[in-house]
């Protein structure tokens, strides 16, 4: 069962997490994003975590890996919608997700992605 559908809008992939992720769902998401990037030649990935109530060290590390892997595949990743309680907990846990670009919501995330992709093109 796909807990994280990935849709393509223009040159961007949008992945929306719909429920609490098991470890295997997180790993599946990582794999699916990699496969989708290869298949579609997308330039950006927007990962929406609005409904996610918990990010522990495993999921945090996986999100870091998703962002790093996305960059290696020539695209940019932005995580949006992290709940304040989740963000506070992550920091206390010692995981600040330093390698991950984030934005408050999907709209701001899309704007950030546009800038990042434009930066890639002029680089």
């Amino acid at each position: 069962m796909a807990r994280v559908p990935i849709i393509r809008v223009g040159d961007t992939l949008i992945a929306t997490v719909l429920e609490d992720l098991h470890d295997r769902d997180a790993l599946q998401l990582q794999e699916d994003i990699g496969a989708a990037l290869e298949r579609t030649d997308a330039r950006g990935v927007l990962l929406d975590l609005t409904v996610v109530e918990l990010i522990d060290s495993f999921l945090g590390r996986t999100l870091n890996d998703v962002a790093a892997g996305t960059r290696l595949l020539g695209a940019q990743a932005v995580i949006v919608g992290m709940q304040p309680a989740v963000a506070m907990t992550l920091v206390e846990l010692g995981l600040e997700l330093k390698g991950v670009r984030t934005a408050l919501n999907a709209e701001k995330g899309m704007a950030l992605l546009r800038r990042l992709i434009a930066g890639d093109e002029t680089a």
């Binding site: 609490d20 098991h22 470890d23 295997r24 109530e53 918990l54 990010i55 522990d56 060290s57 495993f58 590390r61 709940q83 304040p84 309680a85 989740v86 506070m88 907990t89 206390e92 846990l93 010692g94 995981l95």
Partner: protein
Amino acid sequence: MSAEARSPQHRLSIAGEDDIVLARQRARDLARRLGFGMIDQSRIATAVSELTRNVVRYATDKRGEVHLTELRSPDGTAGLEIVVADHGPGIPDVERAMQEGFTSGPGLGMGLPGTKRLMDEMDVDSVVGRGTIVTVRKWRR
């Protein structure tokens, strides 16, 4: 330390990855019912996720138990105690395991120290070859 009242206990078996999710949801539900705020609910659920994952990853038989106990301190403060026990290999050097960056497996090595920061009290009782019992507590402020 032992003067607090202890009431209903909830026991859960850990036998696989699905139980990590189940245990952290149960802990969050109980924390919410006890009146903990959103951030404390998140801290408690995340601590349970870290501790139960250790069981699934490192315990020899991948099995363990979680006990959730409601506490009431002498001055009336509500609290939640979580005990996670396994019959795994045990931790040879608990002090070292509590240090940042230490890991005995394919993890980030932030499991125990990170969990300690999320909770108010933490006690690790481990015997090599017998298993590990981790007790954490959070008090309502």
